[in-house]
């Protein structure tokens, strides 16, 4: 067991897969210098510039060429720099990567990972802060992964690289420096399994990515008020672990979903619907969502904070929901 940051763990996971499998390579802007956040620091020294490839600022070609390279039997790891820039390559991801296998009747496999640093971080404003995960869950063919801890960022990245489907891998920029224990052993972590991070009996809080940590903080505060919240880190959004969430709701009767993305048409709506359809009889209150208002993200902290869900808001929402 080692202590690593979320960023280092992602780097270790990639390096490990590159050592294990010669067909794995990474491409993106500035990777030779370590990538914008340092996620690739030192990797070009070990693996060379063919396998840690510096690309032009050509998002559509970065993603589109990865589709071609994946169909030819390599496993590209695509660095999009910011999730927001992946929008320059929507055709390549949605119409090409996600469709090739199906549209060609099973002849193609597109084993690629699209890393998209996502979410609010240091006043980055409207074009460098978005959380767009729910868009991707809407696209058949894609797998959507959102790690919240260093260990998950290593092992879910490794599993995503092993996966034969295109994976949208959303790392949260505000978690880069988060430290946590990471196993030295190569372990596998299946995609699609949520984690009950804090067991509890009074209320279920489902979250993922950076917001999961706010949910844990809120649960600690709730505990001081004799409310025993169960906190689930969903980890992957497609497929998502309905069983874990439903079992929890069957136990607690209350569901609060917390995410950083805009609430309208956010993934919380999907979770709320599925739980309502499947666990209606177990619910003691209507499932609730706590997420961002439908406004772009501002630069100034006063306005930026309007879209940020805080631990105290989660506490307040939880208390209202269980009626205390």
């Amino acid at each position: 067991m080692k202590t690593m940051t979320y960023l280092e763990a992602g780097r270790a996971g990639l390096a490990e897969m590159m050592r294990q499998d010669g067909s794995v390579w990474a491409l993106g802007e500035d990777l030779g210098r370590g990538g914008v956040f340092g996620q690739y620091h030192g990797l070009q020294d070990e693996f060379g510039s063919d396998r840690i490839a510096d690309t032009p600022i050509s998002e559509s070609c970065i993603l589109g060429s990865a589709v071609g390279a994946a169909m030819m039997g390599t496993r590209p790891v695509v660095e999009m720099r910011f999730a927001d820039f992946a929008l320059c390559a929507v055709d390549e991801l949605v119409n090409q990567a996600a469709k090739a296998r199906y549209m060609f009747g099973g002849q193609a496999r597109v084993p690629m990972v699209v890393r998209e640093p996502s979410g609010m971080w240091r006043s980055s404003a409207a074009q460098h802060s978005q959380s767009l995960e729910s868009w991707y869950t809407h696209i058949p063919g894609l797998v959507v992964v959102m790690p919240a801890t260093p260990a998950d960022n290593k092992f879910l990245l490794m599993e995503s690289i092993r996966c034969n489907d295109p994976v949208v891998y959303l790392e949260h920029k505000d978690l880069w420096s988060l430290e946590g224990p990471v196993d030295d052993q190569t372990e596998t972590l299946p995609i699609g399994k949520a984690r009950v991070a804090r067991p509890g009996s009074d209320l279920t809080i489902v979250s993922w990515s950076a917001m999961f940590h706010r949910a844990l903080e809120a649960a600690a505060i709730l505990a001081t008020q004799n409310v025993d919240a169960e906190v689930i880190d969903l980890r992957t959004l497609w497929p998502w672990d309905r069983q874990c969430v439903c079992e929890s709701v069957q136990k607690t009767g209350h569901l609060l979903i917390v995410h950083e993305a805009v609430q309208v048409s956010g993934f919380g709506a999907e979770i709320s619907s599925v739980v309502t359809e499947n666990c209606f009889g177990d619910l003691k209150s209507a499932p609730r969502r706590l997420a961002a208002p439908r406004i772009p993200i501002s630069y100034a902290p006063t306005m930026e904070d309007e879209v940020r869900v805080s631990a105290s808001q989660i506490v307040e929402a939880a208390l209202t929901q269980i009626g205390t």
Partner: protein, 329 residues
């Protein structure tokens, strides 16, 4: 053309291939008119020399990416026309099991990595395929065919730049039929066109008469050998789409008589004249044409009788993780 070294057998074969493409598309148009082809088809009638002259130079292991107007390219790369016709009709046994249709035919078994329903999207995929070939150290080339309209999309810049900086084995072929759907491409294109644009990125590029199968053949052969040694090149083939954008497009937007006049440059007729000059008889050439027609008519007949795929196949080959057969809603 120097008659003494005119390779009669080669161009007899190319003539045959052009006739087969045309017969395939005539059968497909008939099938469309009879409502058996379900979606749109984009025939390449008049452009067969480009398909045959280019793809006739590709080995099975070489890679090809094509467009929505790709029946000819696909056939020449070695795909089975029976499977192609079945795909057009959405039937079992189609190249993509009825999931793709005309615009999405692929045959990975012969190195054909797909037509594409999105104009220009094949360019980035092609350079990525070439990138993989380079990484793996394989002896293959990628040929990427696109239309004159595609050069106005971003991937043309991004993909050609990419191919050049990584020095990838790609032959870009711009099959210029003068039209971008129903618009004359020159009205929407600034500057001197694909050759100048490619040259501005440092690629060697040349223009040829795309209706002269011999010229296309010679140029392609030469360019492919240069691609292997020196990286990406572009071949611009000037041709003409004798029909509409789709099989049901009457193409009324064209000046009166334009298409009629262009029939005099029909690449099949031109090849036929050449072969006659080289000593083949009218009878022999007509036999080739008739054999192609009866081959493709038979293929259409058999495709009519085939079954549609079972509805349950709609759930296969989506993805392994999060497979809709276990979780579609």
């Amino acid at each position: 053309m120097n008659k003494t070294n005119f390779d009669r057998a080669r161009y007899r074969h190319f003539y045959n291939q052009m006739c087969r493409i045309r017969a395939f598309e005539r059968a497909a148009i008939k099938a469309k008119d009879e409502n058996l082809v379900l979606g749109a088809i984009h025939p390449s009638i008049g452009q067969e020399a480009a398909a045959v002259g280019v793809c006739g130079n590709l080995r099975r292991e070489d890679i090809l990416l094509s467009t929505h107007r790709g029946h000819g390219h696909t056939l020449c790369k070695g795909a089975d026309p029976q499977a192609m016709m079945l795909e057009l009709l959405g039937k079992t046994g189609g190249n993509c099991g009825g999931k793709g249709g005309s615009m999405h035919i692929a045959d990975f078994g012969v190195g054909m990595l797909g037509a594409n329903g999105v104009v220009g999207a094949n360019i980035n995929i092609a350079v990525g395929a070439a990138h993989a070939i380079k990484l793996k150290g394989e002896d293959k080339v990628v040929t990427c065919i696109f239309g004159d309209g595609a050069i106005n999309r971003g991937p043309f810049l991004e993909g050609l730049n990419w191919a050049k900086i990584y020095n990838l084995p790609v032959l870009f072929v711009c099959e210029d039929n003068g039209y971008s759907a129903t618009t004359n491409t020159k009205d929407t294109t600034a500057g001197a066109g694909p050759v100048a644009r490619a040259q501005s990125l440092g690629l060697e590029a040349e223009s040829r008469d795309g209706n002269d199968v011999v010229g296309v053949d010679i140029a392609t052969r030469d360019l492919l050998s240069r691609v292997k040694k020196k990286g990406p090149h572009l071949l611009h083939l000037k041709t003409y789409r004798l029909g509409g954008h789709t099989s049901t497009d009457p193409a009324k937007y064209r000046p009166d008589g334009e298409a009629d006049g262009k029939w005099s440059e029909d690449p099949i007729a031109r090849c036929r004249d050449m072969l006659k000059q080289a000593g083949l008889t009218d009878e022999a050439l007509t036999d080739i044409e008739m054999a192609a027609t009866s081959e493709m008519d038979g293929i259409y007949e058999r495709a009519r009788d085939a079954a549609f795929p079972p509805a349950a196949n709609a759930y296969t080959d989506v993805q392994d993780i999060g497979d809709p057969r276990s979780q579609a809603f």
